[in-house]
């Protein structure tokens, strides 16, 4: 494959990743969120595979497969099952002022562009331009966790952040060493089980997954 075409496709996929990140920021319905998350994982996985092919780094195929199985299939499935079991499909998450959140998101994109500028100049890789997008995805995931006070959306924001980090690793360095990638994947898997357990605990204790209700631990005066 031609190098410029690959870079082109890759930056297009980066744009799609960013778009899904923004989509998650404003999506109201639970299932919609999970689907967007799965799409983001898919774009990520395809992008990783393309980079692996162009750069001839075969360990990237493994991380691509790992992403595919973990973030496109397994995690969305787990979330689906949890939402179904806990019957929280209708628990609509009120987003505070969507346009404002969007503007903050845009500001974060500009900020990450500014922040990664020195790295971008130093890099010689095909993928270097996508680093800003990766950081922006991390930041938007963070924003999502702050603005949305629901346990499930917070977790999806967390996982979206992880996606951004993974993307950063492929775009800045053609992927971290395999040991590290496997370890990170294992950690995410464990985290998935833990939040699954947590959802049940929170649901039985607070009768809802609204994090706002968890406000007993405040500084007492």
């Amino acid at each position: 494959m031609n190098l410029t075409i690959a870079a082109n496709i890759n930056s297009f996929l980066a744009a799609l990743v960013l778009l899904t990140a923004f989509g998650m920021l404003v999506q109201r319905r639970m299932y919609g969120l999970i689907h967007l998350f799965a799409w983001q994982g898919l774009f990520l996985s395809v992008s990783t595979a393309i980079v692996g092919f162009v750069a001839g780094k075969h360990h990237l195929y493994i991380s691509s497969l790992l992403t595919l199985s973990l973030k496109v299939v397994l995690l969305p499935y787990i979330l689906h099952v949890l939402i179904y079991r806990l019957r929280i499909q209708k628990e609509v998450d009120t987003v505070v002022n969507v346009p404002l959140t969007m503007l903050i998101g845009i500001a974060l994109v500009i900020f990450s562009y500014h922040l990664t500028a020195p790295v971008r100049e130093l890099s010689t890789l095909v993928t270097r331009s996508t680093l800003a997008v990766a950081l922006a995805t991390v930041m938007i995931g963070l924003l999502m966790m702050i603005t949305r006070r629901h346990a499930v959306t917070q977790i999806i924001g967390f996982l979206a952040m992880e996606n951004g980090l993974f993307f950063a690793a492929t775009s800045a360095t053609y992927g971290m060493p395999l040991v590290v990638e496997l370890g990170v994947a294992l950690d995410i898997l464990i985290a998935a089980f833990i939040f699954g357990i947590f959802f049940f605990h929170i649901h039985t204790t607070f009768d809802s997954l609204d994090v706002e209700k968890m406000a007993r631990l405040k500084e007492s005066d």
Binding site: P177, D187, I197, F206, M214, E219
Partner: protein
């Protein structure tokens, strides 16, 4: 060889305890496992003492004076905590706060947690360091929510989310670090090995590394509990079972700080400025002051001592940020004595709150009359942690203060202010708790003597007389961190 034992013992213990953790003899297995770990840790330290820094396991592990001392400390405190936990958890079980499945889970996760911390300390790979740190978080999250009370679940959720977010920033920092390293060392796992990185640190790209350090600082700083990233810490430390509070406060914070200091060494090598140190000093000082004033407002006993942990981590971070041989020496010593004193305090606090069935300081009274060991242990522990001579904390704080007066005299008043306020706040609260008549709600109980005594004696000894080998040890570590 010793190294492998050190890592495998807790892992095996975890596997065994996952099956038999609810039996009568499970606490003994727990203690045996931790004692084995401690023995292996001592053996490893001896090896390092004799032969100097070593690489092992295909360069995957690396042991030098800095991390082996923390590894020994970790295994020691986890052993004494296991001893304490035997009495404590038995009592909790009698009160019906935990069932048999949760006991199994508790014991297994305790060992996994120790394994994760040791892996964190001993690994040579900066990426694996991150993974182990995340594993340490994950293994304790469900321990914090062990009692399943609404507040415990809330605290654990906060811990999970905030630390998850924080540690994610550290991963981004690690990616940037790898990006810079790859240019010099080439691709592959070699470029993330700390030993390789520290050799070429002066050739790493300074702009990238200073950017990376910001992310690493935020990431690992969250785990250290530095203000303003500390929000999870008082909750997590106060809502979990007390043995867990003891190891979280006494050990996990140290390990996170260790990761931060390792990264700082690399960044300093690359940027050749005091940039990273300045950031650490800022965070450290802010933590000291904010934590000191928060101490004044606390009502919950475990919460108060969690704030004290934030304060002391602030002091250590400040010391490492300041740099220079005296401050670094003070910082290393402070990590050691704080972790011994703080875990001893948590042991006594755990018993005190069990005796009164509450963590509200207003309702805890007459500890010295009720149980002299708990009462005096708490009193002396607070004296130690507040920095009264002749305890070890005084020595370390004195060293750090001296270095501050010399290198950054303008910051001395702030540091002193924090120390004095913390001192006053602690004594204001502790005085009524230990003195006075035995109140009606106090029930007598058998307590674990050994851990408290052992820790207090050690802290006192270090304050009175620093053994030569320890002194030499710290000097080697100081050289490493230059």
């Amino acid at each position: 060889m010793m190294l492998l034992t050190l890592l495998c013992v807790p892992l095996f213990a975890a596997i065994i305890l996952a099956f038999v953790g609810d039996r009568r003899y499970a606490p003994e297995i727990n203690i045996a496992g931790s004692a084995g770990t401690f023995a292996a840790g001592l053996g490893l330290a001896f090896e390092v003492y004799l032969y100097g820094p070593t690489l092992a396991g295909n360069k995957f592990f690396f042991v030098d004076a800095f991390n082996v001392y923390l590894a020994v400390l970790t295994s020691f405190v986890s052993m004494t905590t296991a001893v304490f936990s035997r009495r404590y958890m038995r009592r909790e079980r009698e009160h019906g706060r935990v069932g048999s499945i949760r006991m199994r889970f508790y014991h297994a996760m305790f060992q996994v947690f120790i394994f994760a911390m040791l892996l964190c300390l001993l690994t040579n790979n900066v990426g694996v360091l991150w993974i182990a740190m995340e594993l340490a978080t994950l293994s304790t999250v469900l321990l914090v929510s062990l009692y399943r009370t609404p507040t415990a679940i809330e605290a654990a959720w906060k811990y999970f989310i905030l630390c998850g977010v924080g540690i994610a920033q550290a991963l981004f920092g690690t990616v940037l670090l790898y990006f810079a390293a790859e240019k010099v060392l080439g691709e592959g796992g070699e470029a993330l090995l700390w030993t390789n990185l520290s050799l070429v640190s002066d050739r790493l790209e300074p702009t990238v590394l200073s950017l990376a350090f910001v992310f690493l600082m935020v990431g690992y700083g969250t785990k250290v509990g530095l203000v303003p990233l500390h929000n999870w810490l008082p909750d997590a430390h106060s809502e979990g079972p007390t043995p867990i509070s003891a190891v979280l406060s006494g050990l996990l914070l140290n390990v996170a700080l260790y990761a931060l200091v390792r990264c700082k060494v690399l960044v300093d090598g690359a940027t050749k400025t005091h940039h990273a140190g300045d950031i650490m000093m800022g965070f450290g000082l802010l933590s000291i002051i904010v934590a000191a004033f928060s101490l004044l407002r606390q009502k919950d006993i475990k919460r108060m001592f969690s704030y004290s942990s934030i304060e002391h981590m602030g002091i250590a971070t400040f010391a490492f940020g300041l740099g220079g041989p005296i401050a670094t020496f003070g910082g290393l010593l402070h990590m050691l004595v704080h972790s011994l004193a703080k875990s001893a305090i948590f042991f006594t606090v755990g018993h005190a709150s069990q005796m009164h069935r509450t963590q509200d300081m207003e309702k805890i009274k007459g500890l010295i009359r009720g149980n002299p060991l708990v009462g005096w242990g708490l009193m002396l522990g607070v004296m130690a942690i507040a920095g009264m001579p002749p305890f070890g904390v005084f020595t370390s704080e004195f060293l750090i203060l001296t270095a501050t007066i010399k290198d950054a005299p303008l910051l001395t008043p702030f540091l002193l202010l924090g120390l004095v306020v913390a001192f006053a706040a602690l004594f204001r609260r502790v005085q009524p708790m230990v003195s006075g008549e035995i109140p009606e709600n106090q029930k007598p109980m058998t307590v674990a003597h050994l851990p408290v005594l052992l820790h207090m004696v050690l802290v006192l000894l270090i304050g009175l007389y620093m053994p030569e080998f320890l002194n030499q040890w710290f000097h080697t570590a100081v050289d490493l961190l230059k």
